[in-house]
């Protein structure tokens, strides 16, 4: 009897390791400084995590197919610069387009999102039509995207100056609240919810799991694998593009180096959240837990007054050990 109970407990822990780890982390920090458990802190962490959630959701789609996108950060930089350049106040001294009349808010945003989607379409074609491994395809396109962003950013009269003076209605997207809840948080929750619905309840989602689990089996089951991959890369890029726009709105500016290396944070969050490195395994709640583990480390360590550089060491340890523990679920016991 005792044995069965212990086994059940062990099983429960290993099945829910990520969530328990997040809980433990919060408890430890709250133990050191009980003020951590306040609404302000929760709000701050949610705020910091929201763009990361959007990026991680995009990355999740791709990792699930067994691929990867090394260009996520560069797309963020691209769309941040694009949207910011068209959304400066008309009385700002160093305007990107000195003579551009005030646009309705959605037009520059739409242009930026479309630009991001174009990158995704490009990735999708290279990967699904020409069978270039995603690692290499996105490694190539990210350099191109960075080049384009930098050339655009360097256009006169801007000449590589940080873009500032953004319109209030735009920055409101990134820093404003509705009913006390930051808009950006609402958007992140919305996107995560849609992704959860798609991956648990629709055939498109299940097909994606199938492709990552066994591509050949998916093919002979009549799934259009190439089309599915194409859509996945495009949609993921849309997520990155949206995150880029929100980053510009949140910080009130943009440079060509925005988003640099963000893809690695997203990949780390997904893997810590239980997504398989070979594809076919992973859940949205897991990914959210992954993002929040890093969010809590980021915010919590500063909150209890530890040298912020310690974060990096702790993050690295978490990546390796969380995955080492989580993967035990899938290792065949001999």
């Amino acid at each position: 009897m005792q044995n069965v109970k212990i086994k059940k407990t062990i099983n429960f822990i290993s099945q829910n390791f990520i969530y328990l780890f997040l809980l433990l982390l919060i408890i430890i920090i709250a133990f050191i400084n009980p003020n951590f458990l306040s609404l302000t802190c929760l709000r701050d962490i949610l705020l910091q995590c929201s763009t990361r959630v959007i990026i991680a959701v995009g990355m999740f789609c791709i990792l699930l197919t067994g691929g990867v996108d090394l260009g996520a950060g560069r797309v963020i930089g691209f769309t941040a610069v694009l949207s910011a350049s068209m959304l400066q106040t008309t009385d700002y001294a160093r305007r990107f387009y000195p003579n551009l009349p005030q646009q309705p808010l959605f037009i520059p945003i739409l242009i930026a999102l479309l630009a991001g989607v174009v990158v995704g379409i490009l990735n999708g074609i290279i990967i699904s039509r020409f069978s270039v491994p995603p690692f290499i395809a996105t490694l190539g396109t990210q350099v191109i995207v960075y080049g384009i962003t930098s050339i655009y950013f360097d256009l006169p009269p801007n000449n590589s100056q940080p873009i500032g003076g953004l319109r209030k209605d735009f920055t409101f997207l990134g820093s404003g609240s509705i009913g006390g809840i930051p808009i950006i948080v609402i958007l992140a929750i919305l996107i995560a919810a849609i992704a959860w619905l798609v991956f648990t309840k629709t055939s498109f989602g299940k097909n994606t799991y199938a492709i990552g689990g066994n591509r050949q089996a998916a093919e002979v089951s009549g799934i259009n694998v190439k089309m599915t991959l194409f859509i996945i890369y495009t949609v993921a890029s849309l997520c990155f593009a949206f995150a880029g726009v929100l980053e510009a709105a949140r910080t009130g500016g943009a440079t060509n180096n925005y988003g640099f290396m963000y893809e690695f944070d997203a990949i780390a969050a997904c893997f810590v959240g239980g997504v398989s490195t070979t594809g076919g395994i992973g859940t949205i709640p897991g990914v959210l837990a992954g993002v929040f583990i890093f969010g809590v480390i980021n915010y919590g360590l500063t909150f209890i007054g530890i040298n912020p550089y310690w974060q990096y060491i702790l993050k690295g340890i978490v990546i390796v050990f969380a995955v080492a523990f989580d993967i035990r679920k899938y290792i065949a016991k001999k």
Binding site: K206, N207, G213, N214, A217, A218, E219, G222, I223, K334
Partner: protein
């Protein structure tokens, strides 16, 4: 056999791969409501022909006619829509997903929720239960496939193929991992499908199965069609001669090995896992061929892998030449001169993208290290060439990638690999699985010769004629326990079967 209606005609199909004419003007005509067996050695082109039919390959010339209409099959989806489904030989399912998701993949039942079309899990569950009930299969639809036994997965694949309600079902080696009872079960399903007017294209090596279930038989050799016969007109010998192009008088080579002193003794070996092997004891003599028989799932593979140091042991002892040994890993096993040819040749045997040469020497690479730490390529080449000659490995050169060899020749390379480690004890796990008749005989000859040279051999096999024909003694296992050891030449298939099912309630 002319002039009547066919549900499916593949006329004059040709397909060329770089350097190989895989299909040469092959014609296959299948009648409605019949079982049409497609036979031939490995590499004869059966699977290629079916892959053309299922839209996985595209044929270079020829036409496909279904129900009187000429069709163009550009992918699997088209094939499915045209009423064809297929049980694939080498395809594994999606291991992390549930049984029902695997079955309805690509055509999940949907339901409208306000704005969205979402998967109807409840209907999918019901459909799966109904499907399984009709086929008398007992699997819970929510089981994660990766946790099921191979034979259950095979049953699931069969159910999946049936669930398409196709006019033609292709079954590529459907019984490769089924127990005898499950084969009977499959045959019941096939007869039922026949009665409902479904045609089955049945690919197999197993001649007994063909004689039992097929209405017509088409035999292929080297990418060409040898002919189509009514099954009742065929005999075992006739089929073999058509398949290999020569008369095979003996299934097994003569043996002249003389078992000597005991080299390996296993006492009460028990696995830490309750469902695995327990209390297994046996002895193996010098120059002896010890067969291990049993049903799939009898834990035979687990037992020999434990002896080889791949799996953990809870209790029990292993003695080599009367000295107790502790084999913690395959490295220890190698040092004790034990070699193991694994069951899953493709998954755990060959390195497909490496050459025959590299595949041959990989287990013995240290022996070729010069004092400078570089490898002695001359010696490697000499040894590999000698192996190729000795085991009659058919390969254009030692530089050829092993994935381009036939299954039988791949297996010979693996045997060569382990022979280079100069083992005293050679464990062969299903050494002839998926290998054609002609190559099987050659493998048997090699095994008999090795035993004669004084090597001790443990051979796991699910093919009873092979066990009886090759073994000096046969140990039969059932549900992880040893159910008996019998002298090879006195044994009948019935006796092995009786022991193999001894502990099954």
């Amino acid at each position: 056999m002319n002039g009547e209606n066919f549900i499916l005609e593949m006329n004059n199909i040709s397909k060329e791969f770089p350097g190989v004419k895989a299909l040469d003007n092959v014609t296959l005509q299948v009648r409605p409501g019949t079982v049409h067996a497609l036979m031939g050695e490995n590499g004869a082109g059966k699977s290629t022909l079916m892959k053309c039919l299922f839209g996985i390959y595209k044929h270079d010339s020829g036409e496909i006619i279904i129900d009187g209409n000429k069709v163009e099959i550009k992918d699997s989806k088209t094939a499915i829509n045209l009423g064809i489904s297929m049980i694939h030989q080498e395809l594994h399912p999606i291991p992390y997903r549930s049984v029902m998701e695997n079955i309805w993949l690509g055509r999940f039942p949907m339901k409208n929720y306000v704005l969205f079309k979402l998967i109807d899990n409840k209907k999918m569950h019901e459909d799966t239960i109904n499907l399984f009930r009709n086929l008398n299969i007992n699997i819970e639809p929510n089981t994660i496939v990766g946790t099921m036994s191979v034979s259950k997965i095979q049953l699931m694949e069969i159910a999946k193929a049936v669930s398409y309600n196709s006019k033609v079902i292709i079954m590529d080696e459907p019984t490769s991992s089924l127990t005898e009872d499950e084969v009977d079960h499959l045959f019941t399903i096939i007869r039922d499908l026949k009665n409902r007017g479904v045609s089955i294209i049945y690919i197999t090596h197993k001649i007994d199965e063909v004689l039992k279930i097929a209405d017509e038989v088409t035999i292929m050799r080297d990418g060409k069609k040898m002919g189509t016969w009514v099954a009742s007109e065929l005999t075992r010998d006739l089929i073999i001669s058509k398949m290999v192009g020569r008369e095979l008088t003996n299934m097994f080579p003569p043996k002249s090995n003389v078992p000597g002193e005991v080299v390996l003794r296993v006492e009460n070996l028990t696995s830490p896992f309750p469902k695995s092997f327990k209390n297994v004891s046996f002895e193996l003599r010098k120059g002896e061929i010890l067969g291990i028989g049993g049903l799939v799932g009898a834990q035979r593979t687990e037992l020999v892998e434990a002896i080889f140091g791949l799996r953990s042991i809870e209790s029990g002892k292993i003695f080599i030449k009367d000295k107790e040994v502790n084999i913690k890993s395959p490295t220890y096993a190698k040092n004790h001169r034990i070699a193991l040819l694994t069951e899953e040749r493709r998954a755990t045997g060959i390195f497909p993208m490496l050459s025959v040469l590299e595949n041959t020497v990989i287990a013995n690479i240290k022996a070729y290290r010069k004092p400078s730490l570089l490898l002695d390529n001359k010696k490697i080449r000499k040894d590999v060439e000698r192996s190729i000659e000795m085991l009659k490995i058919k390969t254009p050169s030692y530089k050829t990638l092993i994935k381009n060899l036939s299954g039988g020749n791949q297996q010979k390379v693996l045997i060569a690999r382990w022979l280079l480690t100069t083992p005293d004890i050679l464990i062969l796990d299903e050494p002839t699985r998926g290998i054609d008749v002609g190559a099987k005989y050659e493998i048997y000859t090699i095994i008999a010769e090795l035993a004669k040279q004084g090597k001790s051999i443990i051979m796991i096999s699910s093919e009873m004629p092979e066990l009886i024909g090759m073994s000096d003694r046969i140990m039969v296992m059932c549900e992880g326990r040893m159910s008996g050891i019998i002298e090879g030449n006195k044994v009948t298939e019935e006796e092995i079967m009786r022991l193999a099912t001894k502990f099954i309630a």
